[in-house]
Amino acid sequence: MEPVYLTFVFVLAIFLGFELISKVPSTLHTPLMSGSNAISGITLIGAIASLKCDNLTFAAVLGTAAVAFATVNVVGGYMVTNRMLEMFKKKNKNEGGPR
């Protein structure tokens, strides 16, 4: 039953993703990509959960590498997206205009 249930979640999430992403304007496509990079760092969750105390050493090394790479994505992805989105501004309010 488990595979069926997981696939069910997967299919719904794909449809939801299509709905959400198709509303993102092309202006924001680069932040969308870097932001979704950060979200794909979600493997961090799996990697953390895989690092159990009773692991074989080699599995622990693999898991640690997975944690490190995924963290680069999460931290780097969110930070750079924030940096970019900060730059998107509306026209400045002081309507006096430039001299």
């Binding site: 990509m33 979200i39 979600i42 680069v72 780097g76 970019m84």
Partner: protein, 459 residues
Amino acid sequence: MNPLFINFIYIISAALFIFGLKMLSSPATARRGNLLSSLGMLIAIIITLMNAGLDYKWIFLGILIGSGIGAFVAIRVEMTSMPEMVALFNGFGGISSLLLAWAEYHQNRELSVFIAIVAFLSAFIGGVTFSGSMVAFGKLSGKITQKAVVFKGQHIINAVILSTALAAAGIFCITPASGFGYVLFALILLVALGFGVTSTIPIGGADMPVVISLLNSYSGIAACAAGFVISNNILIVAGALVGASGIILTNIMCKAMNRSLANVLFSGFGSTTAVQAGDGPQGEVRPASAEDVYYILEAADSVAFVPGYGLAVAQAQHAVKELGDLLEANDTEVSYAIHPVAGRMPGHMNVLLAEANVPYDQLVEMDDINPRMDSVDVCVVIGANDVVNPAALDNESSPIYGMPIIETHRAKTVIVLKRSMNPGFAGIQNALFFAENARMYFGDAKASIQALVAEFKND
């Protein structure tokens, strides 16, 4: 902590990711959306750390290294280098899914057929994403040639690689616990890494927006597959969102070039057509000096800048904004018309102009500017070529025929900033340069614009 409770908390994280993406639908709310999404991630990480029996020394070692590198890159990267960075991060997402699947398999080899299949998918897609992204990174950062590298029998080699992988996967899924199964798994990893290289190397520089989008989608799908391996919903949901995002962007990019995905991936576009560069429209070019251009701009009521990859190369975004401000002070209506595939990744030009403080309400999409192009006094094309080539509309024999373009030739005057008369990526000459209403303003984009700024200031 109770695993059931942990899974409930994951639902909150998933909801925050979804809200975050929803708020990306407008530049006004996008930043808060990103913060919400990162909050979701933080909650998920903290609750995962509360699992029983975790080996924290390894976890914190990994997190420490990862956050150090991630933060360093995020702070230091130039906006012009965003495509490289996104390519690199796509690759990291892929390799972490590969490593996760490998670690799980190494720890416990008794896999059911279903788990074996998803473990294979996670490792294979992860591997392709990683090596493909490294090639894309190399191309975008100029470490390897941006040209399409095509070699004889490319498709045959790819087909052989792919069928090897599938055959190995088939046997692996039946006997994952045996020693032979482990050898096959290792073989699959190697094949995946090789396939990433051979499938990305034949794709040329200007097709990179498609490739990055596609790899973005792969990295999500790999995370999804990893979620199936460890039966974790949050990985599946988040991976599926990223996968869907990548697919949509890929589709938009392909449409904006009027080419199928297969054509982008397999044709080696730009390497074969370059041969006939001498053909095509010929005629008299009307060069203009900084002073000429200044008088044209000075008299204009509306000006639309059309940026392309050349703007990024010349780092001219700040100079353009300065010129835009001077024009506005002169009561000229200024806008920036942006083609979906301008630059090296989706939305590349928008980010550069935002960096230079251009307000986002002045950034206009192709479909918005084209209907009112006839009323635009002056179009200033900066480092763009194929995306303004009228051959896409009227020349059926042209390789870019059918591609939607920004129809600058319909403006009253077009000023084209260009280094030389060299053709663009598609290797074809541009009839726009010989048009009656076009003036060529030769030189480095940044220096040329600065010269115009100086003209305005002297006045």
